[in-house]
Every structure is written in C-alpha cells, then in structure tokens.
C-alpha cells in the first residue's frame, strides 16, 4: 500500500459533481460542478466557510449521499449511481469515518467499538479470533491497549477519537474521511491526534479531512478551499 509504484493510482476522483437540495420552497445548489483527484497516499484538507459546500462534499465522498449529477469514482469503481444497499457496502469496505464528535456507540466497550465495522461486512460473516486480535492490535496502536474494556464515557475526548481512528482502520478502507477530527479537542490533544493521522498517511493511507482551522489544514499535503459550491483554491504543500 505504501509502495511508490501505486502512488500514482487514484484513490478517489470526482468529476463535475452537482448537488441540489430542496429545502422546503427553496432550491439549494450546494455543489456547482466540482472536480478533484485524490491520489493514493494523499493527505487532503478541505476548507471553507460554512455554506461553502464542504460538508456536502464530505457526505458525497463518504457515500452517505449521492450526487445529483457527475461521477464519483472510488478505488476504480463508479459509485455515483449505486443503490442504498450497495452504498452501504462501499461505506463499510472502502471508507473509514472519523467524526468531530467521535460517534462511538455508548453501550459498547472500546474493543467492541473497534470491531463494529466487522459486524457489517458483506455476507455478515462471524468475527474470528484472529480478527479480534487485529482489533486489539489497532487498540494498542492508538495507545488504548490498557483500556479496551472501557466504555466511551470513561474516556477523554482524545481517547475517544483514538478509538474512532482504530475503528476507521479495521476494514482497511480506500480512504479515511475525517470531519473536523480535532474540533472538540484542546491544543495538546489536537496535536496528538494529528500526529496519528500524519503517521497513518506516512504508512500510505489516503486521508481526506474537512476542517475550518488553518493550523490543522497545515498538516495536510493537499489543500482545497471551497466557496459557494465550487473549488475556489487548490494547492499542494
């Protein structure tokens, strides 16, 4: 995954994406022809003010929503016309989500939260002992080896976000989507979380992150700024 030969391969690509919403009487044109390429191993920060279309973009990239027109090619597959069932599988297999508010399942332990994506794999096969071992390893990797049986409420914000990162990695996704991953954290923890993401990127993971904080965006190699539903500025660090 981290070899140079595959670096040129595109993890994700969007071509002339439009997105319309009907909000009651008002028709919102949230994305107005957005095109972008995300090579494998990329670390992207999508920035923009609220209403710029960055959230819509993230939802589309995450397979939570479908474009009104245009194409979204993820790992070589055009996913823009898929059904809800197919999109669910794409989300499970090709995308790892990290949210601002961590979004762990409150009643599950750390280990159970990390295992959760395994539960929804295609065919719903039972989770094997080897896979549980792998989840434990991921927990250890994010520094929570001694808290695997804790419930989310027993953890700090930073620790919860680490669990979410481990969860995002379980199914070896094509891209990791981070929505304001440090939005709820203090500056020290922020740096720790960003360090983990940077390390993951160095291992070859493709990371697409939405943020409105310029200093967080600095961690990324590839910065996209959105305004009024189009890409306003795009630059590589």
């Amino acid at each position: 995954m981290s070899t140079a030969s595959t670096a040129s391969r595109l993890a994700a690509r969007i071509i002339d994406i439009h997105k319309f919403y009907e909000l009651g009487e008002v028709n919102v044109h949230a994305l107005r022809g957005v095109s972008a390429e995300f090579p494998e191993g990329d670390f992207v920060a999508i920035m923009g003010a609220s209403g710029s279309g960055k959230s819509t973009m993230l939802n589309l990239l995450g397979g939570l929503d479908r474009p009104s027109s245009g194409q979204y090619i993820l790992g070589g597959v055009d996913v823009s016309g898929l059904t809800d069932l197919e999109l669910s599988e794409i989300r499970n297999q090709m995308i790892g989500f990290i949210f601002q508010s961590y979004n762990l399942i409150a009643q599950y332990t750390v280990l159970e939260n990390i295992q959760m994506p395994l539960q929804y794999r295609p065919g719903r096969p039972p989770i094997t002992a080897d896979e549980i071992d792998r989840c434990v390893e991921l927990g250890v990797m994010v520094g929570l080896g001694d808290r695997l049986d804790h419930k989310p409420f027993q953890l700090s914000g930073g620790q919860q976000q680490r669990v979410a990162i481990a969860r995002a990695l379980v199914n070896n996704p094509e891209i990791i989507l981070a929505d304001e991953p440090t939005g709820n954290l203090d500056s020290v923890t922020k740096a720790e979380i960003m360090q983990i993401l940077t390390d993951l990127n160095h291992e070859g993971r493709t990371i697409i992150m939405v943020t409105h904080e310029p200093d967080i965006a600095e961690y990324a190699r590839h910065q996209i700024t959105m305004r009024d539903g189009v890409i306003f500025d795009e630059k590589y660090a």
Binding site: L85, S88, R91, F97, N103, Q119, P126, N171
Partner: protein
C-alpha cells in the same frame, strides 16, 4: 443463523441498558400470556369436571327421571300427588327399544336411619343389582346386593360410607341392623356391605342435579315395593304430604354409542304417549357431552379473544417503547449506517429487540402460566384449612377445580406474543431504517 443470533444478542444487550423500561414493556406481554394460559387452564379444568361427570353417566346411557309436576297441574285433589315413571313404562321401554342391553329401575325417598342409638338423614334407594355398576359404586367391605336378594325380597341393605360413619362410628356395621323409618312405621335391615366413598357430583347445567352417594342406603327394589310401597307420606310442618311414585329413575343402556339417539327418540315417544303430563325428564349424557364440548370450544375462543386483546395492549406498549428507543438512538442509527449497516440491518436490529422483549415476556408468561395449578391448589388448601365454614359453602365445581394447563394454549400464547412483538416492532424498526444517515448523524 449466526447473524440472527448476533441480532438477538444485540437486542438483549440494548434492552439490558434500560432495565426498568424494558421490564415494564415485558410485563405487558407477560401478563397477556399468563392470562391466556390461566384462563384456558381454569376453563379446561371446569369443563373437564363436567365432561368427567357426564362420562360417568355413561355415553351409552339414557337417564329417565320422574319429576314432580307443578302444583295443581295434575288435577289431583287431596294430599297425595301421583306422578312419574311407572313399572309399565319400564316394561314398555324394555320391550320397545331394540338396541337395549339393560334398563335399571330405581326408587328413592329421603328418610331417617337409626342404629346404635344414633340417627342420620339418609337417601333410601330401592335398586336392582345393576345400579352399582352404572354409577361406578364399588364395595369397600362386605358385598353388594345380589340377584337373590331381589328374588327373596330380603331385608338387607348396602350403605354409603358416610352413612356407616354417622350411624356406627368405629364399629363394624356388617351384620348389624339399621332401622329405617317411613309411613309412620319402620323396618329393620341387615347391613351386608359398605360402598367406597365417591366424590359427590356437581349439578350439570339445569338438566341434572348434583348427587352425594355417600349418604345412601341401598335396599332391593322388590323389598322396597313390598315393605314401603309406592305411596309415601311424610309429615311436614303443619300437615302431611304424600307422593305416589312407582319409579324415580330408569337408566337405559344401549349396546353402541351410535344407537343412543334412536333409542332416546323411542323412549321419548313411548313416554309422551302414556303420560298426560310432563312428569318426567330425559337426560342423554352423550347429548350433554356434545353440548359441553361445544360450550368448551366457544369458551376457549372467547378466552383467546379476550387474552388476545390484552396481548395487543401489550404490543402497543412495546411499540411505544420502541418508538422512544428509536428516537433516542437516532445518533446510533446514523453511526451504524455510516459504518456500513444497511436498512435491513437496522430493521433486524430493532426487530431483534422487540422479539427479545416479547419473547422473554412470553417465556416468563409461560413460566407464570405453569404456576396456575400450584397457586389454585394452594388457595384451595389455605381456604379449607383456615376458614372451613366458608369452604363448606363453596360449590364443588370450585372446591374440586383442578386447572389443567392446555399445551395448545402455551404454544398459542407464546406464538401470539412473539407475533405481536414482530407486528408492533415493525413500524418503529422501519422508521429507524428509513432515517437519512446524514440527518441521523447530526441528531443531538
């Protein structure tokens, strides 16, 4: 299979987080299921009693009884009222019913028996030897009446065990004499046997009175006729009352159950032809049995309907809880959807919870259903021990009631409860699945 198991496990886990809420929702189903099982068990117990009594009467029997007509309707003047079955009726029935295997006549009066300086109110019955057999009366000491007692018109008697207890206490009554009073005179009878105690029968509907065999005194019918005769005068407060009755009851037995209706028709026609008034009644146990069976079926349908309503109420409770749960866990639904759960996954997840809820409630209800017998027996025992006076006034139908848990009611109740769970869980589960994952993730 594995997926199903995991889904149920997941449901159980989520419900365990809200023990009180889940417990209350479960209670609705539990009560519904228990109600079905208890009601059916009590109903089955009562109808079993009735059916047993009717069966004791014999499905191949037709019972014809004398019944006193309403005062004045006979046109008789004077103190003595003549009514009821006659020896001629008996002969005609014997000769006219082709499928008859036997007919057992009986004559009966209430009187006082005396022995050893004690006295007791007894039923004095003039019978033939077949009477014991058709009434399931068995000898406990001595012997029953035999054909030679009839032929010789012997002054012998067989007594019920309560009669024996009342008149002889701890002595052996066999060979001793009882003085039986009637028509201002009395006769002595030698006790030759005692019958085993028999549970008194309860009345069945309006057609058959209850009967306590234990205070009976049986003497040969020919002896009854020779010593007492047909006319019996009893002194009542303020005067005398007389009855002229040849036979109180004739029990007709036919060879096959199939022949009962035809035989009953013949008996009816015969009696109608020779009796000016309706001074008899005909009881066909087979007919009663059929009616009781019908009644039982109707009763069961009604009970299941009522219990079904309580289960539906329980189901609404479950739906309420599940709707609250779905709203409360909107965020969780969003997370699961983002991580790859499909709409069917979400439906199964919440359906799994309702099935666990209603299934567990159902199982506990079944367990509580099995408590019916011990609880009812316990109450019966407690009342009998602590308030015997009250106990004595309770009708035997309730005193001797043994609830019978019907296997079908368990299956039906449990099935309905799970069905109700699925039915009422479907809407909340669908609602959860139809949520837009983006909206759900934003939900606070």
């Amino acid at each position: 299979m594995n997926y199903l198991l995991r889904t149920l496990q997941l449901g159980y886990k989520s419900l365990w987080l809200h023990k009180l809420r889940s417990g209350l929702a479960m209670l609705g189903i539990l009560i519904g299921v228990t109600a079905v099982i208890w009601l059916v068990a009590l109903g089955e117990g009562v109808s079993y009693q009735a059916q047993q009594q009717i069966k004791d009467l014999g499905a191949t029997n037709i019972i014809v009884k004398s019944s006193k007509p309403a005062q004045g309707s006979t046109g008789d003047t004077g103190l003595v009222i003549a009514y009821g079955l006659t020896r001629a009726d008996y002969q005609r029935i014997l000769e006219s019913v082709p499928t008859i295997t036997r007919a057992v006549p009986m004559r009966e009066i209430s009187t006082t028996g005396r022995a050893q300086g004690r006295s007791a109110e007894v039923q004095l019955l003039g019978i033939t030897e077949d009477y014991f057999g058709i009434n399931q009366l068995k000898v406990s000491r001595g012997r029953l009446l035999a054909p030679h007692d009839m032929d010789r018109k012997e002054n012998v008697c067989v007594i019920g065990d309560a009669t024996a207890e009342a008149l002889f206490k701890h002595e052996d009554p066999i060979g001793k004499t009882i003085e039986l009073a009637y028509n201002n005179t009395s006769d002595l009878f030698v006790v030759v046997g005692i019958t085993q105690s028999r549970t008194p029968t309860a009345a069945i509907g309006g057609s058959l009175a209850g009967r306590d065999y234990n205070f009976d005194v049986y003497i040969p019918l020919p002896t009854f006729r020779a010593r007492i005769g047909d006319q019996v005068i009893t002194s009542r407060s303020g005067g005398f009352e007389g009855e002229l009755v040849e036979l109180n009851q004739i029990t007709v037995t036919v060879g096959d159950v199939e022949d009962v209706e035809e035989a009953a028709d013949i008996v009816t026609i015969l009696l109608e032809k020779y009796h000016k008034y309706q001074d008899y009644s005909i009881v066909v146990p087979k007919e009663l049995l059929r009616q009781a069976e019908m009644l039982r079926l109707m009763f069961n349908v009604l009970l299941v309907l009522i219990a079904g309503i309580s289960l539906v109420v329980g189901g609404i409770g479950i739906m309420n809880i599940m709707l609250a749960t779905v709203t409360e866990r909107t965020r969780e639904i969003g997370i699961r959807r983002a991580i790859g759960a499909t709409q069917p996954d979400i439906v199964w997840q919440f359906l799994g919870e309702t099935v666990v809820l209603s299934g567990t409630g159902g199982l506990l209800g079944v367990a509580a259903g099995f408590l019916c017998y011990p609880v009812v027996s316990g109450i019966q025992f407690a009342v009998q021990q602590s308030v015997p006076d009250l106990w004595a006034t309770i009708p035997p139908t309730i005193r001797d009631l043994q609830p019978m848990v019907a296997p079908w009611s368990i299956i039906a109740a449990f099935g309905i409860s799970v069905g109700v769970g699925v039915l009422f869980g479907l809407y909340p589960a669908r609602r959860a699945a139809m949520m837009d994952p983006i909206e759900a993730l934003r939900h606070e």
